[in-house]
Symmetry: C2
Subunit: 730 residues, 2 copies
């Protein structure tokens, strides 16, 4: 292969990050020999942590950098570098990228800060960077990122040295710190990345690309995302939906509060949106949301290392009542069961317990110095019983504990060393480590001892999570359960759009032509009708006589409402009259409306819809997001309870069904106090339609259906409002 020639052998469908994570050669631009500079640390990681490709330092003055021959310009490199890593000041990057482009480089990581995140000047510099990259077909990560880690080929581009251990958790982060500062911390926890990617400013390759890459990566068994804002939620959703059915994805999102957004945007420059939109997005994508970096790592590691939970039954084995109780409590709250074991199994377990210990599940051995019961004897009974789908063990420990008590015992055990003292005790780690794999059962351990304990380190080194607290172990088990629920839902994908309705388009065009941004209730509902939504039967009346005639057709009782695009909030202003039983009532209501409006006004005569249950549905366009559908409690409770849920359009049938069960008050939509269960198919269709209408008509800025009254089992849209925009805000 002529290595000086631009290499065109890249597979057509190779992911753009492949050349960044798995390059055959790397040029490092900017690293000198001063180990006290940050850039040097990155160069050292690449050189020293086991990467076996070619390394070309490029430096204007040095001939050798950390033992590698250096080159003063890309032009004289002996071969085309597959990847270039920039760790020099921002102002030099653009020019140098051009030179590397000339030399045939097609992938770059720009660690350098000083671009868009610093203001207008930096933004301009970032534009130039992208322009050069695009001219040469260079795909780049960063700028303002902290590099990547690939434990498969021992490539470490971060400034923190990396233990040589192959991990299975993939990580993509909008904060570089979570793949650098945390590395020693993760080692102590026995958690290891497969691949980790700091995306920085996401000028070119972004978080979604990283997700996509990790989704395809065979070494990666679960994916953890740290998110402050997603650039293109639609694409993110599409990519995530392809991954989550077969690989767990977890996300921590922290952009949603005022100060959070400020801190976030100053860091990544990415768009931060409100919390509940992201919440809906993650649900829709089948992504498990966590709320701390520790949970992201812990639960990610559980999902990456443990087999699926085949059912909901969890066994808990402990040497202490408190942790067992805490684990059971959390499992129960999260929808798992901690079933009492059969008498038969309890009898078998009791053979291994002191007389006062509990065998029912949680099994509490109470504290003693031998580990065998906790590590093998009872786990074996539980795993082979068929009475549990997952196991948690708390308190398994040996050397950690023995070291702790050794100072008190040292003079009593003569000259015996700590090691010899420890050897007095049983060791069955080999069997213990085999058991769960043989039984294909997830195992999560909780221990207050870290890697100073031989059981903790042995389990961790064999890809069993050992977490530092019972509640954390239990939340890990819940993550397995939640993934089971999420993967089923995400598998279905988005729904299909119906064709655009010509009559609806006409109503919108007419409103725009007449300068109306707000559609009146009647027009709003006609649009909804075009897409099959169940709206109250109604007609417009311009005189009391017309109103009476319509009421006669619809049959009493009816509702009269003033109808004008100038009215958005009608209640309480004398413009709405409900439950009218006869002609006299209609006549009086009509004149009331005219009086309240202070002028002649069209009056909508609708059939009165009765129902105790009210919900609302709507659509908003949040900056940076496509149309989002909202569903919530209706009537006066909408505002007071904020019991609502969001999804991005288009909604799948599963998305719509999930929205309905998301409500805290969802029990109200089941068979409830003598009322029938709501027709969820029909309600779900309303939610899907609201999203579809927004996609088919970009000029619609907002839709508000409130209330949708549940009449018997059927949802009926009783009031509706559609607001138009310029179609460009979003």
């Amino acid at each position: 292969m002529d290595d000086n020639h631009i290499n065109n052998d890249e597979a057509v469908d190779e992911h753009p990050l492949e050349g960044i994570m798995n390059p055959r050669s790397i040029a490092i631009a900017g690293a000198g020999n001063n180990p006290m500079k940050m850039g040097a640390l990155q160069a050292l990681s690449i050189i020293k942590d086991g990467y076996r490709g070619k390394i070309y330092p490029v430096h204007p003055e040095e001939n050798v950098v950390f033992g590698c021959k250096a080159y003063y310009t890309p032009k004289i490199l002996p071969a085309r570098p597959e990847l270039v890593i920039f760790i020099l000041p921002a102002k030099h990057v653009v020019k140098l990228l051009e030179e590397f482009g000339e030399r045939g480089a097609r992938r770059a990581i720009v660690i350098s800060a000083g671009f868009r995140e610093t203001g207008p000047e930096g933004e301009e510099l970032e534009k130039q960077l992208l322009e050069v990259a695009s001219r040469y077909g260079i795909r780049l990560l960063g700028p303002n990122c902290l590099g990547v880690i690939n434990t498969e080929n021992s490539l470490n581009v971060t400034f923190v040295p990396l233990e040589d251990r192959v991990g299975v958790l993939g990580m993509a982060s909008q904060s570089g710190t979570y793949i650098t500062q945390t590395l020693p911390y993760l080692q102590k926890k026995g958690i290891h990345f497969s691949k980790a990617i700091s995306v920085g400013n996401e000028a070119d390759l972004d978080l979604t690309d990283a997700l996509e890459y990790l989704g395809k990566d065979r070494q990666t068994r679960a994916i953890a995302l740290y998110i402050e804002g997603i650039k293109n939620p639609d694409r993110f959703l599409e990519v995530a939906r392809r991954i989550t059915p077969h690989k767990p994805v977890l996300a921590q999102y922290v952009g949603g509060s005022a100060a959070g957004a400020r801190a976030g945007s100053s860091h990544t420059g990415a768009m931060a949106g409100p919390d509940h939109l992201y919440d809906g997005l993650f649900k829709q994508a089948g992504i498990l949301r966590v709320h701390s970096i520790e949970d992201l790592y812990h639960q990610g590691w559980v999902l990456a290392t443990q087999p699926p939970l085949k059912g909901k039954r969890v066994a808990i084995l402990t040497n202490s009542g408190g942790p067992g109780t805490a684990m059971a409590h959390i499992c129960n709250e999260g929808g798992l069961e901690v079933p009492r074991f059969s008498e038969k199994l309890q009898e078998k377990i009791k053979e291994h317990l002191p007389p006062y210990a509990s065998a029912g599940n949680p099994v509490d051995l109470t504290f003693h110095l031998e580990t065998k019961e906790l590590s093998t004897a009872i786990p074996k009974l539980i795993m082979e019983s068929g009475e549990a789908d997952g196991l948690m063990i708390h308190g398994l420990m040996k050397t950690g504990f023995l070291k702790t008590i050794y100072p008190h015992l040292a003079d009593l055990v003569g000259n015996e060393s700590e090691e010899k003292f420890a050897a007095r005790f049983n060791d069955d780690k080999e069997e213990a480590l085999k058991l769960p794999r043989e039984n294909k059962m997830p195992l999560i351990l909780s221990s207050f001892f870290g890697r100073e304990d031989d059981y903790t380190s042995a389990y961790q080194d064999n890809y069993y999570p050992v977490l530092d607290g019972p509640e954390k172990a239990a939340r890990g088990m819940l993550a397995l359960h939640q993934y089971n629920l999420a993967r089923k839902k995400a598998a279905l994908g988005p729904g299909e759009l119906p064709p655009q309705s010509a009559p609806a388009t006409k109503i919108i065009r007419e409103a725009l032509d007449s300068g109306n941004r707000v559609l009146d209730e009647y027009s709003s509902k006609r649009i909804l009708s075009c897409y099959g939504l169940p709206v109250s039967e109604e007609e417009l009346a311009y005189t009391a006589e017309e109103a009476i005639e319509i009421a006669g057709k619809l049959r009493y009782p009816v509702v009269l409402k003033g109808c004008s695009s100038e009215l958005t909030h009608k209640t309480g202003s004398g413009l709405v009259h409900i439950n009218l039983e006869n002609e006299a009532a209609v006549r009086s209501a009509f004149s009331e409306i005219t009086r309240a409006a202070g002028k002649d006004m069209a009056v909508l005569v609708s059939k009165m819809i009765k129902g105790e249950r009210e919900v609302m549905a709507g659509m908003i366009r949040y900056p940076g997001f496509g149309p989002s559908v909202v569903f919530g409690l209706g009537g006066i409770y909408t505002e007071a309870l904020k019991d609502s849920t969001f999804r991005l359009a288009p909604l799948s049938r599963t998305d719509a069904a999930d929205m309905i069960s998301d409500l805290r008050a969802s029990a109200m939509l089941e068979k409830f106090r003598g009322m029938p269960a709501v027709d969820k198919k029909s309600l779900g269709a309303i939610l899907q339609a609201v999203g579809n209408i927004a996609l088919l008509h970009p000029r619609i800025a907002e839709i508000d259906l409130n209330p949708v009254i549940i009449s018997g089992k059927d949802p009926v849209v009783v009031d509706a409002l559609i607001i138009l925009g310029n179609g460009k805000d979003h």
Copy 2:
């Protein structure tokens, strides 16, 4: 002092735990010389961890135990032991306790298991134990506990050796593991107990006694409780209320779910009640509730070591955007502010920042190797600015990080050792540690480096919390904020009971005499009226004519309801007719009711109360608890939303006000959609009265006021049900 004589010099008001935590002499019953037995470990802790009082091992065979002269029976002890610790098998304890009683011992810790927690036989043994104790005036801790720790006098009765460091966090636990297994773990976190008490079966001294003792203890600055069930919630509340205004108390409660309760009760034998009752109890007591043992320790340590947060403004200083964003997010969600700093302060801070870093708050230095800005320069500016009430710092580290990168640099820095290499970097720990104390400002640090880092260990050793994650630091700051809110409320104490109402007593007596356990709506409301509750105006009618006459007096519209003690759920059965506007409607409703009832029935004619807002109030007696008042959303939402809150009677005015603001839908009770704010004083008085009625009339088992309709601004009880019990269930 004649030491052989029973000592009567105990102060009259000395707490019974004082002699257990601070004894001048200890007899250890049951420890031999075999270091492989658990009991030996406890004896060794007492002997080796620095306790300076007299120690008398008592053992049937040994003459010397671990170097201390041993005695074969209490009878031959050279002096009265103030405290006896039992670590021998349960069956020997009772007899030996008697002998120690003879010898003058008045305090005991019974570590031994095998009592009530094992079943009827053990229960009998525990009774005997108590009988002997009471005969000799012995107060005892346990049985089935793991001992106590007092770092003030270096007394350690647990089986785990203890570092000699005086702590400030008091702990009382219903699981012994949390003051034993966790000791090495806590040392690694730099968290140290003042005193710790494992209460075991609570046969005599219980968790509330431990709380009371720790409340009085001057060394203890905050109290952490691990709870599986409280024996006497009323006394617990009374004791906690006295403590929380001046000393923070935190609790983890995990007894509330089915499996949790099973595990818990098998361990402590204590009563476990439903979660929401404990939730209310803690709120009422001014106790902060946490949901994991880690939070209990972390937040306890923050509250024990940091000065109060004087306001809501938090400053965040970090070397990385992600952790800063995460901290800000959690602070905002929890009601703290992360205010943007003034331009003036930002200018000053910017002098210490790289050009692309953010000074607005969070201040993000971005990563670099020198610590000065993070440890002193910027903290000083922030603390002296008056623009923040508390500070969080993430990422302060030196030797931990330098050790991490040293392997990459070792050969580049020649023969320089790790230590010398570290000495190249600035060290300003002394100044850094002084700053917060000088400024009386709470400081919480977050670091991914443990005690291997010199900054982490220095801060920890100087009583600043260094927690292993930004979210944990932020939750610590929230705990300071929540304590500020809680202490104000708890300070007020319970409300006073009004006198018993003779007419109400009469109604109840008549119902009992006639064998009715369910009071009809009219009688129920009359009782409520006796205590000043606002009920709908109404009278009973036995004929349609009477009903019409009453309706005329009350003025239309009215409501007619069948009224009988046989009816508890009336809606939907044709027995309720609302909004009746005229005589004809009343007449027709009356006959409808007679028809629906299938017989003549008294009919309640009430004035129609209108209001869009409905709430409910009630009272239940849960086993082990006194009467509890419940408040929630009314109407169909009561069940669907489970938006309710509990408190133990009697309620203070603050308790009642808190219940109202507890509701997720509380916004609905403010000025809301054109409706006035609810009269909270009147609503609160209803809640207080419901609790008072239950206390004044023990025969009332349940009260249910649903709905209470908000008419204008006034709550009116529209339906009510009182159920009587035998007065003994509770």
